[in-house]
């Protein structure tokens, strides 16, 4: 049997050796991107960047927390040049460790101040809006709350679902904390813990609403639009409700991009982030399957998605998300 195994293994090893030799032949300029955004999105964007600049983009994919913690563990030895996330807290983690190089002025000014930290260490490049999904046969639109804070009221018991363990929901809690204060947030979380069905992941929240398990669910807008695009399997029975009037439920969270200080390809890395937020990159984002909002005001998502300009998000400092206070409040409410 050993010989049989060897008979399979040896040719395979030779084959991979050959394969990796091939892939190592492209000795042109390249950058390494730690990508916690959806891999498919970057697979659409990166080739366009390469076409324009001749710089190859090599991706390491993972989740926000995996790659964030990996960067912290790597420290100065990191092979990464650029870090992209789905949400901002992982950016804050890496920023706090002092691992980012400041972005160029020209890059920063392309994005409105509300969607990047004051430090200038990283910038938002895509955004998603919080929504309340609802099952259209279980509940009518006029019964829906005007504020996300209302969901803590007793009448919503068993009628709302959400996913508290992801960074997404915590960003929403941060928004409530910023806009309503600590005591109100505490009461809100306790009410929600009492009322809500806890799921893991926004897609599962959507499924549960679609299946009629619960009437409503808190999630991000693009889950719904993408599912409609894929098959409608998980969203055909649902509709979206956008909160308005700077309600914390209208919170918009951002995907971040930053350049690692340890990178020895500063120029190429800076160029990539600049491309990502300038018109070309943002248009590529808008044209992709992702259905996330571009943050450069010159580019619009031209589809059935509710226009970014029509959103009425609250004002929240992106670098203040997921502070220790938010975690403490959520832990006290027994959500994490």
């Amino acid at each position: 049997m050993t010989s049989r195994l060897l008979a399979v293994a040896v040719p395979l090893l030779l084959l991979t050796g050959a394969l990796s030799a091939c892939s190592q032949e492209d000795d042109g300029p390249f950058i390494t991107v730690y990508n916690a955004q959806h891999e498919e999105l970057l697979k659409e964007l990166a080739p366009k960047f390469t076409d324009e600049t001749g710089i190859e983009v090599k991706l390491r994919n993972g989740s926000d927390f995996e790659l964030g913690n990996q960067l912290v563990a790597e420290g100065d030895a990191s092979p990464a040049d650029v870090f992209l996330t789905e949400n901002s807290p992982a950016m804050s983690l890496v920023e706090k460790e002092g691992l980012f190089a400041p972005l160029e002025e020209g890059t920063l000014e392309l994005i409105p101040q509300a969607y990047r930290p004051a430090s200038g260490d990283w910038t938002g490049f895509a955004a998603r809006s919080t929504v309340l999904m609802y099952n259209t046969s279980e509940i009518s639109e006029d019964e829906l709350p005007t504020s996300i804070v209302d969901l803590a009221e007793p009448k919503w018991k068993g009628r709302v679902s959400f996913s508290p363990t992801g960074a997404d929901f915590q960003a929403i809690v941060s928004a409530v904390l910023e806009t309503k204060g600590e005591a109100a947030t505490k009461a809100w979380l306790e009410g929600l813990a009492e009322n809500g069905e806890v799921y893991d992941g926004n897609n599962i929240v959507m499924q549960s609403v679609n299946d009629g398990e619960v009437e409503t669910g808190i999630a991000y807008h693009y889950y719904w639009y993408r599912d409609q695009q894929e098959s409608g399997e998980n969203s055909s029975e649902t509709a979206l409700h956008f909160f308005t009037n700077q309600d914390p439920g209208a919170f918009v969270s951002v995907s971040g991009a930053g350049v690692l200080e340890s990178s020895d390809k500063q120029e190429d890395a800076q160029e990539f982030v600049r491309w990502l937020v300038d018109e070309a990159g943002q248009q590529a984002l808008a044209d992709s399957y992702a259905l996330e909002y571009p943050l450069n005001p010159d580019v619009q998502l031209d589809s059935q998605v509710k226009p970014f300009s029509a959103l009425e998000p609250p004002v929240v400092d992106v670098s203040a998300l997921n502070g220790p206070k938010v975690i403490e409040l959520m832990q006290d409410a027994g959500l994490i």
């Binding site: 049997m1 050993t2 195994l5 399979v8 293994a9 395979l12 084959l15 991979t16 394969l19 990796s20 892939s23 390494t32 959806h38 891999e39 498919e40 999105l41 090599k58 991706l59 390491r60 994919n61 993972g62 989740s63 926000d64 927390f65 995996e66 790659l67 964030g68 913690n69 990996q70 912290v72 563990a73 790597e74 030895a77 092979p79 807290p89 992982a90 804050s92 363990t165 960074a167 806890v198 799921y199 893991d200 992941g201 599962i204 499924q207 549960s208 299946d211 889950y223 993408r226 599912d227 695009q229 894929e230 098959s231 399997e233 997921n322 975690i327 959520m330 832990q331 027994g334 994490i336």
Partner: protein, 519 residues
């Protein structure tokens, strides 16, 4: 992976010579290697302020999570044992139709990763969420780890003891409980240990099945507070639980000897004729196969047919499959290579040190993949930065994670190759090396094959360490499935999972063909 003649302590009259120094050194080196994540974990955890640590640990939620973890572990281990005993008995001891096929099918759930199984179930029904559902789905994914050694042991049992029990006035049921079961104990324990440890570190499936445990909490902690130190500290509780499990298993294994008292070749037990009950009996393996294989595969096929993203990324199928195969093969071969010296130490040179070395290979099993991956990042960057994010380090991570699977198999097969056989061979003029090669190696080979197959399957489906440690741009089937399904492109993701299952099938077949005791 016939775990049959297991014994921790040898009878006094067979005092053993000490292990050669080189072997002992090798064993200690392997143990230290396997303990890298644990060492790194302790270093991280030690940086946490003790007050904060205590505050974090003694929250009501932690007690709840610990309760969940224990509950799940006990339920799944118990359910796996019952299911495995029933299925093994039907396949080995009755005239159930299509026994050979059922045996392969009952082994096959190993090829379906728990997170794929969970995904399959949840996308069909929400009824599987929570304690009961999670227990069921996870049991369906892991019970073959008990089923396989139990089947092998049952095949090797000399039916003379059961006949005797009949003459001593025991009914068939009593005979099973008092004669068969005790002799299957080492096999049951060995398999249960693996299931229990997998329960400690299971993450993906439990997330989908909405059953928070200690391990999912560790991920949450990384994810929400981005506080690595606190997460590591929580993980150290998991290590304590792991130690308890390892000790309990050692204690249950006990000092009793299970070697056969008769040296004659055992007869093959007569099969019980089920008669009309055959059709009813078919329900059990039929239901298990339908639930453990049918549901996830149906679910994946359904996504292929209804998803609009189906076909996207299909050009990656071949290269990712190839990379997966190469990593899994190399990892599997190296894992059994490392398992051999450990097994030789614990079987042929039993001592406290040998036991410690063997047990240390199990600890990583209980740790979440993220903890192991981060430990290797820190370790590699500090000591061998040139190797960071190269294939050897990824393979090293696989070895640390799955070495115990190889050790369990190799060790039990080595226990069936008594040293006296080598002595006989040497008396026939063979050198020590030649005697080992021509006598012990052939006897141990099925165990080595089984161990390699188990590791192969595990590597095929590993996710976290692969994401963080693979050479840049290297993708495996598991990482592609993860990123596509995370992006809601289930139709595009499903073929990767199906291929992952397909790749593991030859290994499953090899496992199911591994005989029990050779006579």
């Amino acid at each position: 992976m016939a775990i049959r003649l297991a014994t921790q302590r040898r009878p006094p009259e067979r005092a053993q010579e000490g292990a050669p120094v080189a072997l002992r050194l090798l064993g200690v080196t392997i143990a230290v290697f396997a303990l890298i994540p644990l060492i790194s974990l302790v270093q991280h955890a030690a940086t946490v302020d003790p007050d904060v640590a205590l505050g974090q640990l003694f929250r009501p939620r932690m007690a709840m999570l610990l309760g969940h973890t224990f509950g799940l572990m006990v339920t799944c281990v118990a359910a796996s044992i019952v299911l495995s005993l029933a299925c093994a008995w039907l396949v080995v001891r009755t005239d159930l139709p299509l026994r050979g096929l059922w045996h392969v099918l009952l082994t096959a759930p190993l090829a379906v990763p728990a997170f794929v199984n969970g995904f399959g179930w949840v996308s069909l029904t929400h009824a599987v969420e929570g304690y009961a559902g999670a227990s069921m789905v996870v049991t369906l994914s892991y019970f073959p780890l008990v089923y396989l050694p139990v089947t092998a042991a049952l095949r090797g049992l000399d039916p003379v003891h059961e006949e005797l029990a009949g003459t001593l006035g025991l009914s068939r049921t009593q005979t099973f409980l008092r004669v068969v079961l005790p002799q299957l104990r080492p096999a049951v324990l060995g398999g249960s240990l693996l299931v229990a440890l997998h329960m400690l570190s299971e993450f993906g499936a439990l997330k989908m099945l909405r059953f928070p445990t200690f391990t999912t909490a560790i991920y949450d902690q990384f994810n929400t507070s981005f506080n690595g130190a606190a997460a590591h500290m929580t993980a150290s509780v998991l290590v304590l639980v792991c130690f308890v499990v390892l000790l309990v298993e050692l204690r249950l294994r006990g000092r009793r000897r299970y070697a056969p008292t008769s040296s004659g070749t055992p007869r093959v037990a007569a099969r019980l004729e089920l008669g009309r009950a055959r059709l009813v009996a078919l329900l059990l393996p039929g239901a298990v196969t339908a639930l453990a294989l049918g549901v996830p595969i149906y679910s994946l096929l359904r996504w292929v047919s209804i998803g609009t993203s189906t076909g996207r990324g299909s050009e990656d199928l071949l290269p990712t499959a190839l990379a997966t195969i190469v990593f899994a093969l190399v990892g599997a071969l190296l894992a059994v290579a490392l398992a051999l010296p450990v097994s030789v130490l614990v079987v042929r040179h039993a001592s406290r040190t040998s036991t410690l070395i063997e047990r240390s290979t199990y600890t990583a099993n209980a740790l979440p993949g993220i903890v192991i991956a981060l430990a290797l990042i820190t370790f590699t960057i500090r000591y061998v930065p040139g190797l960071y994010q190269t294939a050897p380090v990824l393979v090293a991570a696989y070895l640390i994670m799955f070495l115990s699977r190889a050790v369990v198999s190799v060790r039990s097969s080595l226990e069936q190759a008594p040293p006296v056989l080598e002595n006989v061979a040497r008396s026939l003029g063979l050198s020590r090396m030649a005697a080992t090669w021509r006598v012990t190696v052939p006897i141990v080979l099925p165990g080595i094959g089984a161990g390699a197959a188990l590791v192969f399957i595990a590597i095929c489906t590993e996710l976290t360490a692969t994401l963080l440690l693979a050479p840049i741009e290297t993708q495996t089937l598991a990482t592609r499935f993860w990123s596509l399904s995370g992006g809601l492109q289930y139709g595009a993701a499903a073929p990767f999972a199906l291929l992952m299952i397909g790749l593991a099938m030859p290994a499953v077949y090899l496992l199911s063909r591994t005989p029990g005791r050779k006579s």
